[in-house]
Amino acid sequence: MTTFLALLVLAGLMAAARWIPAFGKLAFQTTVSLGFVLIFGFLVGRLARRIRLPRITGYILAGVICGPYLGRFLTGPVVRELRLIDDLALALIAFTAGGELRIRDLAPRWRSIVAVTGAQTGIVGAGMFVTVLLASPLFHLPPGVSVAAMAIAFGIFAVASSPATAVAIINEARARGTFTDTVLGVTVLKDVVVLVLVTLLLPVMRLLSLPGATFDLGFVGDLAWEVGGSLAGGVVLGYLVTFYVNGVGAVLPLFIVGVSILVTQVARQFHLEPLLLCMVAGFVIENATRVGDRFIDAIERSSLPVYVVFFAISGAAINLQAVRDAWYLALILVVVRLLLVSGATALGERAAARPNPMVRRWGGLGFVAQAGVTLGLASIVARKFPGWGEEARVLALAMVAINQLVGPVAFRWALSRSGEATEGSGAPARNGESVGARTPAGSRRSV
């Protein structure tokens, strides 16, 4: 009741602010909207949990409800301003993802992780390529457009999944175990694979769709720099952070927030991949130093507001117009992708030393969610291929919208089925005020 009442008062106050004709300078609008998103997202997240949906689905729904396409509490320019927080959120999530990958837990599962990643990349990529080729008459593409190039793009889109959503759901469910480790390991590894795929296949797509384009091998050097540089940068960053934690140690949550923003900016300047860099840093800190617990705890202490804003703004950015225009095509692709991902995961898991029946049966549901990586790829495609890129982007947006709404629910359900979700079971959290220090087998505090 109090949650509903709070939502009503909040919406009333925001409506009063929107009633002001001038609605203030953009800085004022951004401030009030940021506060609104934080509280609104948090409250809707609570309601979502009450009906057994993941909190992050609540955050995303909150964004959809108050975004520029529905409630219009948030305007387009404000959403663009608030997207600045994406960098911070993604860096924090990447640190957490890296920190969650503990060698001692992953070692027994490495064959499974590599096999599932390989199977997903091959089967899902190829399967989606064929699907788009076959379904191309439904796309009403203008004459002269290379369907093959577009099919390659959708093959890459389909392979990508959302590490941010996976980490957030794992944290929320306080999940730990073989199923969780496999899904997380594959998600992180796939992030690198997608990076490689994009770099390798973009020149091929250019060759197919742009008349007169030539094959330039310069991309190999770029790829080596991007991947190698990010790996090396991540190792250096990991040790630098460790040095700070050991040597100074003060205001750690603020320090991590600052480092996250700074690293993202610097990585962009040097054409490195910030997500990979931060994941490697988190991995190094967790596995090669003794400050892993302090580091991850500090991240989690500052993560809730960042997660709420990040997922709510992701929801607000969901283009409902695109969904309306392309929903039937998007739905076909979403269903095909789900089948391909589930099949590939089951097949890959068979190759494991000790196959886990839960991964084989429900593992595919851990890779449904899509967000930033896919949207980023879609934007690149739209920019580089003016003939068909925009159509592909709109369709990709619709796919992401559906997957991002369905994915968290599906993964959360799969975690419950696997028996690894401990939230609400009275099991201790890894940290948090309501509980004590980290426990050896405990999971982390909820999102």
Partner: protein, 402 residues
């Protein structure tokens, strides 16, 4: 410069300087007073700001305004949350009388004198409304006194006794007079239709300020009722501070005033105020440091009008404070003797004055507004540097602690 990178730079500077302060310079030196005054952060801001080396340009500063609004709202909340009725009633009524009367008289005298002066002359060309606003803003700032770190490090203040106790009490209460003045300023000299597209009377804007604060306070209470974990409480405090500050700014009202009203409501309604207070205090220092650096960066020290106004303001304020304290002591029956030079202890000012200046500068960016902002910054630095000898002198005749 990217606004986020600028924020990190400011944070890093603040943190580094914070660490540097622990080196504790030799007591009693001017250098120590400078390092304890917060003036170093203003100086850093001025050097890296648009009027200095331009590491922070105007565009970046504008992008950092949400952060300033958060800081102001946070300060207002912090102030309000400490005004718990059941704690306040432990103090004798004459203490409140002295605090409020001296503040009100100082405000009135400074406002009156400056309004009269601005009627005939201003250091820059200004419209009539701008003159009234500037006079009231300076009057409101004049009412503030501060138990600055310098004053608290004065051994006589730390020793105890009624007089020293009163000197610590007054600066905790007189911001109420200042924020009342600020509330009146933002309501009766509201920027109106031009800025927000709505024409209300001054009284209606005042009602909007108070009503908005109460409504936001109620929302805060509802939100706190659904909070169960500490990270959720952090989110609630952060979200409410940003939202209420932003909402006040959209309506061209002061985030300080709206935050104060919210804080008072929460602290007197809910039993968790200690938890909230601790949470607010945790971020107080970084926010203050960032506020000072950004205020320094926004300071146009190359415009001479501010210096002239600062000299005038300091002279007027010292005079008004003297008369204000004299009046307050004359109308109040204190159970102990207050030395004649005690009023000097209320002359120093602190970061709250800067917060008021920033709140004013965010909304009123006219030439006289900029000169006012500059004058408040300068006078705060000067009076803070003089804080320790003034407090020393104020307490030189006090009776020993009971």
């Amino acid at each position: 410069m990217n606004a986020l990178v600028a924020l990190i730079l400011i944070g890093a500077l603040g943190f580094a300087m914070g660490r540097f302060l622990f080196l504790r310079p030799r007591p009693g030196t001017l250098y120590e007073r400078f390092m304890l005054s917060g003036a170093e952060f203003l100086a850093i801001g001025a050097v890296i700001g648009p009027s200095g080396l331009q590491i922070l340009d105007r565009w970046t500063l504008t992008n950092l305004e949400p952060f300033l609004i958060l800081a102001l709202s946070w300060i207002g909340l912090l102030l309000g949350i400490q005004l718990r009725w059941r704690h306040l009633i432990r103090f004798p009524w004459p203490y409140f009388q002295v605090s409020l009367v001296q503040g009100a008289v100082t405000l009135g005298l400074c406002f009156g004198a400056l309004a009269l002066l601005f009627f005939f002359w201003t250091p820059v060309v200004a419209a009539a409304a701008d003159r009234w606003r500037a006079a009231l803003c300076l009057g409101a700032v004049a009412a503030l006194s501060s138990s600055t770190e310098a004053a608290l490090h004065e051994p006589r203040a730390a020793k105890g006794g009624h007089v020293a106790g009163l000197l610590r009490f007054v600066p905790a209460i007189d911001p109420l007079v200042t924020l009342l003045g600020l509330g009146l300023l933002f309501s009766f000299w509201h920027s109106g239709r031009q800025a927000v597209g709505v024409e209300f009377s001054g009284f209606q804007w005042l009602l909007a300020s108070v009503g908005g604060g109460l409504l936001l306070g109620s929302l805060f209470l509802l939100l706190l009722a659904s909070v169960h974990q500490s990270d959720e409480a952090v989110l609630a405090v952060l979200g409410m501070a940003i939202f209420s500050g932003g909402l006040a700014s959209v309506f061209h009202l002061s985030p300080l005033v709206v935050g104060l009203i919210q804080g008072i409501l929460i602290s007197n309604w809910r039993r968790q105020e200690d938890l909230l207070l601790n949470m607010l205090l945790k971020l107080e220092r970084p926010l203050y440091v960032a506020l000072l650096v950004l205020a320094g960066a926004a300071w146009r020290f190359d415009e001479p009008a501010g210096y002239l106004l600062a000299v005038l303001f300091i002279a007027l304020r010292v005079g008004a404070k003297f008369l204000g304290v004299r009046t307050a002591l004359a109308v109040t029956r204190l159970p102990f003797h207050v030395p004649g030079r005690w009023w000097l202890g209320l002359v120093p000012q602190g970061a709250m004055a800067i917060a008021v200046a920033v709140s004013y500068g965010l909304i009123y960016d006219d030439p006289l507004g900029r000169a006012t902002f500059s004058a408040i910054l300068l006078s705060t630095v000067v009076l803070t540097l003089l804080g320790r000898p003034l407090v020393h002198s104020a307490l030189s005749d006090q009776e020993p602690a009971p």
